[in-house]
Subunit: 345 residues, 3 copies
Amino acid sequence: MTYYSFAFGIGSKDSAGNWLEVFYPEPLLYPAADLLEKITQTLGHEGGNGFLELGRQQLETLQHAFPASSDSDSRIAALLQTLMQSTKPLLATFLASDSQPASVPEAYLKLHLLSHRLVKPHATNLNGIFALLPNVAWTNQGAIAVSELAGRQLQARLQGEFLEVMSVDKFPKMANYVVPSGVRIAHTARVRLGAYIGEGTTVMHEGFVNFNAGTDGKAMIEGRISAGVTIGEGSDLGGGCSTMGTLSGGGNELISVGRDCLIGANAGLGFPLGDRCIIEAGLYVTAGTKVSLLDHDNKPVAVVRARELSGRNDLLFRRNSNTGMVECKTNKSKIELNAELHAHN
Amino acid sequence: MTYYSFAFGIGSKDSAGNWLEVFYPEPLLYPAADLLEKITQTLGHEGGNGFLELGRQQLETLQHAFPASSDSDSRIAALLQTLMQSTKPLLATFLASDSQPASVPEAYLKLHLLSHRLVKPHATNLNGIFALLPNVAWTNQGAIAVSELAGRQLQARLQGEFLEVMSVDKFPKMANYVVPSGVRIAHTARVRLGAYIGEGTTVMHEGFVNFNAGTDGKAMIEGRISAGVTIGEGSDLGGGCSTMGTLSGGGNELISVGRDCLIGANAGLGFPLGDRCIIEAGLYVTAGTKVSLLDHDNKPVAVVRARELSGRNDLLFRRNSNTGMVECKTNKSKIELNAELHAHN
Amino acid sequence: MTYYSFAFGIGSKDSAGNWLEVFYPEPLLYPAADLLEKITQTLGHEGGNGFLELGRQQLETLQHAFPASSDSDSRIAALLQTLMQSTKPLLATFLASDSQPASVPEAYLKLHLLSHRLVKPHATNLNGIFALLPNVAWTNQGAIAVSELAGRQLQARLQGEFLEVMSVDKFPKMANYVVPSGVRIAHTARVRLGAYIGEGTTVMHEGFVNFNAGTDGKAMIEGRISAGVTIGEGSDLGGGCSTMGTLSGGGNELISVGRDCLIGANAGLGFPLGDRCIIEAGLYVTAGTKVSLLDHDNKPVAVVRARELSGRNDLLFRRNSNTGMVECKTNKSKIELNAELHAHN
């Protein structure tokens, strides 16, 4: 019995009983077969993708199956012991396979897999997630259905309480679910659940990371990582720089940034960048930008569309401040590269 | 008796009794004449613009005038029933006419009219509002006068409480007062009370909407809508793009964006844009930018200042990446437009 | 006995007893010699830089030394009276000299000196502060050690509480420690403790101020003030504009902006700017940008690197929208300036 993922969760519902969000403290990717067999049998789960809300009785049955004295399952046993205290709805979510999420608990489990660094961006099926996730008011009193918000706001005011509405969105902020090891996130409102923030990454105040996007390792992020965009280890996104996403406005091509790149402040990128590339501050290079290639004497040798340079390493992009022309030099004066680039024209 | 607006509100005061802010759960624009007559008579309001703080006795008189069994006034009756529970100061605010606001409660009522979508940007008189509104510390313990903040912070620390100061500003965030139907606002700190957010609008994390500004309908806002700027239905403001306001730095001309436009990421706009226009990512077109008009063979036919293109439809603005020249093509190759543009030169 | 600085503080520790942060309500710069002598003697502080955690007994000794009836020390006496109520750890922090901070309490005192406007940016030694400060989860339940966050999040969920994680960073937001007089900060998450915000400054939602950076007086900040950057009185940083810092990506030269400057929206600056200068919206001028100097007939007279214009007054920078060339005019048509600039070439 090989499952794709499994987790126990604590969720919130609106007053009509619809799930608003689910918190999974310890999501599992490819959980051990014997563990899953024991859980599915104990709960009577019949296989496939889905979730079960856990009542008191089911929790006790689970605790019986995973006693505190258990050696092999000590982690699950400890978690169950803790979950017994919950005043909020508990659930068990099963993903037998990585198919399109079909419920809020399933979608949230997949977003957790990304932010817990169990799967990389694009490595889990998130098709249809926008339609699936409800729009939620994220407040200092927890998740509230948008339709119930006005009433709650009035009640809070009457009682002299303060109901702070931080966000009205389908995706919550990641940091309220998990903060992976070795990161700084100066302003958590800018990182959605479902972001993959690599070990050693700092996301500064102006940085932003959408879901299904992120950094591979150590990185300095002061610019915006759009949905689907990935940033290689050692790269630096300058303040306010932009990476084109594919959800709105951008094209269809997936943008990425290789290792050890520097995208300057207020610059922008509309094509996949290789390793050790630099885009100077303030320059937006879209896929269709015509770029003049320079040899190492700074003589133009060809003009290509930026998309033709996709994935090429050691490039420096700048706008010539005398001619206004967008130019590309090899970052390390590698003549081989220019030679090859000639051939592209 | 035709009034411009009326509302019951719940407010906050500083320790000297000055109003800091007012929350109006159900503001009315052009309320029914007989309703207002009944309210003014019950409260002894003598007409004109102003507000009355409501004591217990006045509330009881109001409840008597609007009994729970009332059919015609059931909504007011229900609201009064609810307001009776308030532990905070209640008030009734009357705007007989749309003249310049003269008090904090009047100013807040006008900001509510905008954010409740009862009036469009520029459609209500907000003259002098900056001078009128007090600077307030917006905290997780509610609105605090700036002069009282340091003492409250010290007290909170001593008691091991956490006093979070979210904003020190004259305008609060809209979402703590109203979230209009059919919107997403990923980060509510970026939308001021007094913004008009059209049905179907998403304001992403990098989006921003000032007061007396907003969107007409469905729109994707990842850029900044400055005070006074309006965005037409179907338009998309890319990440970090800028619209010039008239408060600071910008000129005197009111900026707007028509329908179905796309302002690229990190681009900018300093003149009123027509419908179906595109500004490419990273290009800032101010009113004074000299723009080379191209015919549909991409031949330059004239050079004009961008402000001469104000309100023109179907334009595409880009900076030629070979020549550095800012160019404008008709977005749909409409030769008529170019012909007419010739005449401008 | 001349000390550099002294303050009583209220701090937070993690469960292992490490200091996470310290709040100093009334930090002193160059405190009166007799006051410090009395405090050091009372507490048995042996001189030098350091801090003492204050137990009940030490507080009582201090109160005895500074009785409520004291005239000369009435401020200290009142503060001590207040601090006695604290449920959180209290400490006294001594900086005999302005040397590199050696502990979390010392580092926090220095950041307070900046944000209380007691010292200007670069005027206090902050060497090594990054290594010294712990990475902290800043939450609505106060400062939490990152290593303890996951457990606290789970506990909060179980109890139906909401643990909001606002930031995971070495620096907290300034406004939770001090809001200096005469400022507005529309979104406090964007100003770090250690920022120096001059009287009369407004930091709008898109503004940002790092530590050891800030504004000298009245200013409108809608752009980003990087670590180490200072802005002169009367200057306006347009929405989303960038100033290059020296921590990451930027060069080694310290950037500053003089008085009465305007950096346009989405523009950028990579060299020290003089007074009354303008950079047009959307133009990023780095230190290495080649700039064509124009005389007052708009004729080019020389080409220089922007860094050669460091500190020069009355300059206007723009990109010619016909030629793509970055140009510099004297903002006030001062022919003397151009004459001198000639000499630079």
